[in-house]
């Protein structure tokens, strides 16, 4: 019997095709779920690892938050796999590639979609007949096709990772909050607060000690700090010791230009030193605190009383007027602010030399 004529008049739809496409759709759905589970399992491992690292290094992590993250991961992955539509054409293409369809199923769907076009009836009928014969073989082949996505191992690894993470998170350990708070506090206020804290501690120690001993201790400490922070520039600004002040003044007399430059760069507002890039306000706060402390300590008896800002103000004003006659006040006036850059003043010898140079014939300005 002629096979084509046997199929003549048959509508271009076959039960075998619909059955095959339905089976393929279910297979692809299961495969998508398996793939989503695999991805979610590996993501769970990553989440557990991140939670443990956060817990150990940064701050405590609650088990609830980890469980929430894992649940969200699995929920999104599985929901996406379930919601993503699988079209019939995709099923047909997959069946053609993997179930020895030979493009028949795709052609069938396209021909069925273009039923009104000029598609030759014998070709369509022959195609329907061919699919009727091939679809049962494809279904049997589909039933024997295993899913490629391996799920067991990732899920097992994820389970172990979650259990280990939960055990670690629930394990009583040292109080991380102290460390965390300390680190957070030291990190947020900045160096200025540290310096202020150190200065306050020194002040408190100075209160309980004798004024002389405290002055010596603070002088030594400030020298160390000054050397550690910015070298000699601090000396000119604090006016802590007479020797330093004298040295600075003497150097300024001998080398005016160098002194101006040094004062500008040594001052915290100069902006040229490496230290200035960190915190410009540090030097100002340090200056103010130390100056206040030192002025308080340099104040004459009563020694048991606390240093007073007004005394320091009087001292400064008196010093500025050149009427400082306090006995035992060996301090030079403190430079509260860094010296501004001034035009270097030349001595008589240097000025004479410069004038002679420019007066000489052929001198270039």
């Amino acid at each position: 019997m002629d096979g084509d004529r046997a199929g003549a008049g048959r509508p271009l739809t076959t039960h075998a095709t619909d059955e095959l496409l339905g089976a393929v759709r279910r297979w692809l759905r299961v495969d998508a779920l398996a793939g989503a589970s695999r991805s979610a399992a590996w993501l769970t491992v990553v989440v557990a690892l991140i939670a443990v690292l956060l817990h150990l290094l940064v701050r405590p992590v609650s088990v609830f938050s980890v469980a929430l993250a894992v649940t969200l991961t699995w929920g999104v992955a599985l929901l996406r796999a379930l919601v993503t539509p699988i079209r019939a054409l995709e099923c047909a293409a997959w069946a053609d590639r993997h179930l020895a369809g030979g493009c028949a199923y795709e052609t069938f769907l396209e021909a069925r979609g273009n039923a009104g076009s000029r598609v030759a009836a014998p070709a369509r009928q022959r195609l329907a007949q061919w699919i009727d014969e091939a679809a049962p073989r494809s279904i049997a082949r589909l039933a024997a096709t295993p899913h490629e996505a391996r799920v067991l191992r990732p899920v097992a690894v994820a389970l172990v990772a979650v259990l280990l993470a939960a055990a670690l998170l629930l394990m009583p350990t040292q109080d991380h909050s102290i460390v965390a708070n300390t680190s957070a506090d030291t990190s947020t206020p900045g160096p200025r607060a540290q310096a202020t804290a150190r200065d306050e501690a020194r002040e408190q120690r100075a209160e309980v000690e004798s004024p002389d001993a405290a002055r010596d201790r603070l002088s030594a400490t400030n020298s160390d700090d000054r050397a550690r922070r910015n070298g000699g520039g601090q000396a000119a600004s604090t006016g802590e010791a007479s020797e330093d002040a004298h040295e600075s003044t003497a150097a300024g007399d001998l080398q005016p230009a160098a002194t101006a430059t040094r004062a500008a760069s040594g001052g915290r507002d100069a902006g040229a030193g490496t230290d200035d890039a960190t915190d410009a306000a540090l030097s100002q706060a340090w200056q103010g605190e130390l100056a206040t402390t030192l002025r308080t300590l340099a104040t004459p008896p009563p020694a048991s009383s606390r240093a007073d800002q007004s005394l320091a103000a009087d001292y400064e004003s008196a010093t500025a007027d050149g009427t400082a006659t306090r006995p035992g006040a060996a301090f030079t006036p403190a430079a509260a602010a860094p010296q501004a850059r001034r035009k270097p003043s030349l001595g008589p010898v240097e000025q004479a030399y410069v004038r002679a140079y420019f007066a000489a014939p052929g001198a270039t300005p």
Binding site: P122, R126, L127
Partner: protein, 334 residues
């Protein structure tokens, strides 16, 4: 002869049966050339022309005669030489006397006016004669003295050329090679085929006694049926990808096979690819195209449409080697 269908409606199953019967008949005459026979049958029913390349004595002329006999077609032969003129192929007007005593010029058709034309050693004809022949192949008609005369249908040219004796030949230009749907290589038969050849054709000429397998009207009917084969979008895209894969200027990646190609296949190659693959689908009993059908006809369709770089030719590569790599990669991606 296979009995004709009782209905005028073409039948894929019967077409498959007829095509396989033709191939079987030719296999019995041309021993050990199964791929060559299948290629020629494919080209004939796809409406294309075939260029056969092989050494002398491999049965090319026998194959043409046997094919004409099996299909029941009228055939003719043109032996090309350098002094062959276009009129010797297409025909010419001769002065003849009529019965009533008057005289006039009458067109006498040339050998090209046949359904199956064997053009032997086509590369020995001059380019002028080649052009006249190739114009007939493309237009399916011959114009002489301002009058166009259509060629009989189906019309198929089987041209042969000798790959070794190139002295005194005029190789076909690439533009004219593109007119041939297939370029088939005639391989040397193996020992078993040679042994069978002795039994078949030692004392007889089997091509002369081959009975007709089809009726002359069956050929256009089967050809029309082949043109109704359904082609899915995936197959169309695959065919386009295959043709584009031979284009070094268009292709995106720099595949190792493609870097040897100087000029790739033309859009006409794409059409030939689909038409030939449709016949293969009918020969397999299907009314829809498969990617494997395209792969089966890819090499004979593309090998004469691809020009290799000179450096690659000097390295000993040929078009078949390069195209085989391309087709393998294309099949993996399709």
């Amino acid at each position: 002869m296979i009995p004709a269908s009782t209905s005028a409606e073409p039948s894929f199953a019967r077409a498959q049966q007829q095509l396989n019967a033709v191939c079987a008949a030719l296999d019995g005459v041309i021993v050990g050339q199964r791929d060559l026979v299948a290629g020629i049958v494919t080209a004939v029913f796809a409406g294309g022309h075939v260029l056969m390349e092989g050494l002398p004595g491999l049965g090319k002329t026998h194959l043409a005669k046997a094919l004409a006999a099996a299909l029941g077609l009228q055939w003719s032969r043109v032996q090309c030489t350098p002094d062959l003129m276009p009129a010797d192929v297409t025909g010419s007007e001769v002065y003849s006397s009529n019965r009533d005593g008057t005289s006039s010029f009458v067109f006498r058709p040339g050998p090209v006016f046949a359904q199956l034309v064997l053009v032997d050693e086509i590369n020995r004809a001059t380019p002028r004669t080649q052009s006249a022949l190739l114009e007939a192949m493309q237009e399916m008609q011959v114009t002489h003295a301002g009058t166009s005369r259509p060629l009989p249908q189906p019309f198929c040219v089987l041209a042969t050329q000798n790959p070794i004796e190139l002295e005194g030949t005029y190789p076909l230009p690439e533009a004219q090679l593109d007119r041939f749907m297939f370029k088939l290589r005639v391989p040397y038969p193996d020992s078993a085929s040679l042994r069978t050849l002795l039994d078949v054709s030692l004392d007889a000429e089997p091509a002369n006694s081959l009975p007709a397998v089809l009726e002359p009207s069956d050929v256009p009917a089967i050809a029309a049926l082949c043109r109704s084969v359904l082609v899915a979008e995936r197959c169309k895209q695959a065919a386009i990808a295959l043709v584009l894969a031979t284009q070094p200027a268009i292709s995106k990646d720099d595949a190792s096979a493609r870097q040897h190609i100087r000029y790739g296949a033309s859009p006409r190659a794409l059409q030939s690819l689909i038409r030939a693959a449709r016949v293969r689908a009918v020969m397999s009993g299907r009314s829809h195209l498969d990617v494997e059908d395209l792969a089966a006809v890819a090499l004979p369709t593309l090998r004469h449409r691809v020009l290799l770089r000179l450096e690659s030719e000097l390295e000993g590569l040929d078009a078949d080697t390069v195209l085989a790599g391309l087709v393998d990669q294309w099949r993996r991606e399709s």
